[in-house]
Symmetry: C2
Subunit: 428 residues, 2 copies
């Protein structure tokens, strides 16, 4: 693909107009102000369009797409106990595959190229990801309420098998991460055992941390430690890690993240919608901690609209700190792209740069909501609509093209997701 | 226009599938489960689509579109003094017309059919609205810092002339409202004079109320009264009124709004982005006060994405009250449609009902982000993308149709807005 005469958001998030960008196989091979000397392949007319890195969704539970809008306006306990848990109890591999495929289609439409995805039936998630051309870091969420010997825990075994079978498959598109669901869903022995196992692997440890005030407080009551301090003590931050949420993380917790090189993945829409609170991401950015953005599941979002996610992250932080200077548009774009790629351990991703993987999106900037252009990055974060994405490319392969999904039979994906949903509802 | 086989959100916000809806001239003439007996005109295939009332934007300053993204990440004083006021100082009628046209185009794209629009150079705003087929309630914002005798205030004279010349023109599409900018920008004599003048008219009084903590506190310091109590004392709530913002309104203020029948227009995105705070709209709804939604200006939003506005209103309120049960999806849709129409004094608007004005929008609900459908209203508020709007119709006239703007020369509108912006920047 050769993009001609296109506005570009470069690796430093600077706007360059009238550029030419070439993709060779899975990588960006040329960025310049003139046509490259030789080019064979599809030419994409970029006038009125913006080319930039795709988005890296650094915390999600894709199969939960089947529960989109299932149980609105309930308190957390009723939502979980009356809606989510009973529904999840009836899930099977086929439903998980269908939910994941639906999420991948939606991700492509919104410019998401890669997803840190924590759930179970991970083999079926992996199947979906490999099939549709997406990137993902999939992790089997480990939960050990019952105090089972970690060495005998089936989910630990599953995580190990998953890693052996799928890690770095699909030409590196698919990675397997390790995941302790959270402090409050396992005992300390399990946390330590997972940390020990992960130490020998090339993975990211993906964990829910301080999502709600109650969870944060109860951890301190149980252990005399915050969730971040507890997880650090277990050794889970000795590998690169994603701490998802961190709404109630303290200044000392941020010190731990900074020292250990932990990524904080904020989930602004989900945190607001579940009434968990609003994360002060400005503080995290100012500390020099790597910040990434997650959608969390569609059951608590209820979409994968990543441009909306950037905007809500920024304005939510301004509102809660009462500081309009908090979070610049560049901060938001960096978290959505490079911050997420880093979180996933994808070193050659997340920036428009020669030699990097061609994970690219094109936005329509010729629509009335994108004028005038005092500053294109401002407009991108605050004025673009999520579905102004016209094209999404992953490793050089087009996966979304103006309403078409070249790697997916979209009607089948939607109909299968609907069918699985109905079947589960019948079984309830 | 005849919509066939379409899913409908009816006047009670109930979802009805496979409906037929006919429009005769400017009104809805038929809603049923079968084809009407006779029909001539355009037939619109509604499969995979949702038909509902258009959105009523109940607080805006359209000409400020020219300042979209001009001065991000500044504190309020710098934003106003270094950016907004100097730019506004160079505005002229032509620039205001061009900014309004750009906003109307964007409004149509996002399904907004009518706008309560407070600014100056109102004749030029009126010209734009009449030309493009929009609805609007335009008001000349009255400011009297200098303590001029209200009888000699040029803006008061302008408001009067505007009313005489434009009120209820364009077959009732255009209404003229009265506007005191706010408590803190005029003296009490001016507030009373405007209230007296408005008493004899068929208008809405449109006023900024308790937008920031500082404004609210300083009013109490000045007058021993909250802004709401002060404005009520001046008589400005003796006519139907819009109190815009109300982020810091007290329980007693809400009593005043309830007793006087005042509409509260919340501006969730603008309030968050300017770091003013988050309005507890749930309390307003539960009191039985009419709630409407506004975008405020594009300079502080920075878009007119009304679906996003509904979502952010709902989740912002959940986050700030720490109550996930706050604001139902139906509450949000009602505020965006009927609440706004009521605020504007448009009794035959805001609901899909035979005999009502045909202010309608069609949404694409066949996109992956809209499946599965556990509840269509949930999906509409939380899962739809702003630009999933496919068609916007005002008084039976199509103003937006899948990327086309039948009543507007969109290229000219964009180029004129850009030109005006550049000219003003040059004069600075």
């Amino acid at each position: 693909m050769l993009f001609t005469d296109i506005t570009v958001l470069d690796e430093n998030l600077k706007v360059r107009e009238n550029c030419y960008v070439a993709v060779d196989k899975d990588r960006i091979s040329y960025i310049g102000d003139t046509m490259p000397d030789e080019y064979n392949g599809r030419v994409y007319d970029g006038s009125g369009k913006l080319l930039m890195s795709g988005f890296y969704n650094a915390h999600a539970h894709s199969p939960m797409a089947l529960m989109r809008g299932y149980g609105e306006n309930l308190n957390l306990q009723d939502w979980l106990n009356k809606r989510i848990f009973p529904f999840e109890d009836k899930l099977d591999g086929e439903a998980v595959y269908n939910g994941t495929m639906l999420c991948m289609a939606e991700s492509f439409r919104y410019g998401i190229v890669s997803t840190s995805d924590m759930y179970y039936f991970c083999e079926d998630m992996a199947r979906a990801v490999l099939e549709c051309g997406a990137k993902a870091n999939i992790s089997r969420s480990i939960v050990n309420f019952a105090g089972i010997d970690p060495g005998k825990l089936p989910s630990m075994k599953e995580a190990e098998e998953l890693y052996g079978r799928f890690h770095n498959t699909g030409a590196g598109r698919l990675k397997i991460d390790m995941s302790l669901h959270a402090e409050y869903t396992s005992d300390f022995a399990t946390a330590c055992a997972l940390a020990d196992f992960a130490r020998s692997l090339d993975t990211v440890n993906h964990i829910h941390v301080s999502e709600t005030a109650g969870e944060h407080r109860e951890c301190i009551e149980r252990h005399g430690l915050t969730p971040a301090a507890y997880l650090a003590k277990a050794g889970l931050f000795d590998r690169p890690a994603i701490a998802a949420h961190c709404v109630y993380s303290t200044d000392e917790d941020l010190d731990i993240f900074k020292t250990k090189g932990v990524t904080v993945t904020t989930n602004p829409v989900s945190n607001m919608k579940l009434a968990s609170g609003i994360c002060n991401v400005d503080k995290i950015i100012k500390r020099g901690i790597n910040l990434a953005i997650g959608t969390d599941s569609v059951a608590s979002n209820n979409s994968l609209n990543f441009i909306e996610e950037m905007k809500i992250m920024a304005i939510g932080c301004k509102a809660t700190t009462l500081n309009p200077e908090a979070v610049t548009p560049e901060d938001a774009v960096r978290a959505a792209t490079l911050g997420g790629a880093k979180a996933q351990g994808r070193k050659d991703c997340g920036a428009l740069k020669v030699g990097n993987k061609a994970d690219l999106i094109v936005l329509d900037v010729s629509v009335p909501n994108m004028y005038p252009v005092h500053n294109m990055v401002n407009n991108l974060v605050y004025s673009a609509s999520g579905s102004d994405v016209l094209l999404t490319m992953i490793d050089g392969q087009v996966v979304y093209d103006n309403g078409e999904y070249p790697t997916i039979d979209i009607e089948k994906v939607i109909s299968n997701a609907n069918k699985s949903t109905k079947e589960i509802l019948k079984r309830l």
